[in-house]
Amino acid sequence: MTAVLIVALVTGAILFGIGVYGALSQTNLVMIMMGVELVLAGALVNLVAFWRFLHPESYSGQMFVLVVMTVMAVEMAVGFGVAIARFRARGSVEMEEAEDLKG
């Protein structure tokens, strides 16, 4: 009976893992943001699964999903803003070249 919940949770976990790999391994700022998006997608799957299979009577679960979607949009907007500023200043958004950010 809980198999369907497990399927959703395992999918979310694997998406999370792929996202973590991407965010850590990529050298380009935009690719790192893609990794973060995948992490958040994994979180979304879990949230919806929890709402649907454990607490369908409480709509705070769906509310939470909307907040995470907001976070995704905000992350994109601010990330691209930073990317444009960085590209203007240094001509690249490669993180290998951002050694100066290490204190």
């Binding site: 009976m1 809980t2 369907v4 399927v7 959703a8 949770l9 395992v10 999918t11 979310g12 976990a13 694997i14 998406l15 999370f16 893992g17 792929i18 996202g19 973590v20 790999y21 991407g22 850590l24 391994s25 990529q26 050298t27 380009n28 700022l29 935009v30 690719m31 943001m33 893609m34 995948l38 997608a41 979304l44 799957v45 919806v48 649907r52 299979f53 454990l54 607490h55 369908p56 709509y59 705070s60 769906q62 509310m63 999903v65 909307l66 907040v67 979607m69 907001t70 949009a73 905000v74 907007a77 601010v78 691209f80 803003g81 990317a83 444009i84 590209f87 203007r88 690249s92 290998e96």
Partner: protein, 178 residues
């Protein structure tokens, strides 16, 4: 329940497959669109889980978001077409390890935890939309408003960071020259 689990698994595999493709292709537009289809598959998973409003919303939002991602990839990458076969990764082993540990831990929790009884029946779609609206403008109104203000702040911050500082610089130059 069986059919639901099956379709959930199918769309889950699609989401994972496209998610892997994001980091395996060296063409940047392919990478961004693979992420788009991964997110769309996640949206389809929501639909399978009878969460219609959120599923449709996810599918709609991601189309635009990831297309914008694609154009930024083309703008900011040295080799957007991926024909040069550049290696765009670093600290590979550590990343793979971290990814596997993160996924493994989450899977272990998913398998080991006692989730209790699963609800078989979901509220129907129109009812859900209605209840979500009441939740948004009722008990969770403050959170919803905060989300809205956060987006506004992010828009202003992103624009402020992104606009060129030429005018300021030229003014400084003038002051220096004077």
């Amino acid at each position: 329940m069986g059919a639901q689990a099956f379709f959930l698994a199918v769309f889950g595999l699609a989401a994972i497959g496209f998610g892997v493709a994001v980091f395996r292709t060296s063409s940047m537009v392919r990478s961004a669109l693979a992420l788009l289809f991964s997110q769309t598959a996640v949206g389809c998973m929501f639909l399978v889980m009878q969460t219609e409003f959120l599923g449709v919303l996810q599918i709609m939002m991601m189309a635009t978001e990831m297309s914008i991602m694609a154009i930024f990839m083309v703008m900011f990458m040295m080799d957007p077409g991926g024909l040069g076969g550049m290696d765009m990764t670093h600290q590979k082993r550590f990343s793979i390890g971290a990814g596997v540990v993160a996924a493994g831990a989450a899977i272990a929790v998913a398998l080991l935890a006692d989730w209790g009884a699963v609800t078989a029946q979901a509220p129907d779609a129109a009812m859900q939309t209605r209840e979500l609206g009441h939740e948004l403008l009722g008990r969770s109104m403050l959170i919803f408003e905060t989300a809205g203000v956060t987006i506004l702040t992010a828009m202003i911050a992103a624009t402020a960071v992104a606009i060129p500082v030429q005018n300021l610089a030229s003014k400084d130059d003038k002051e220096v020259s004077q």
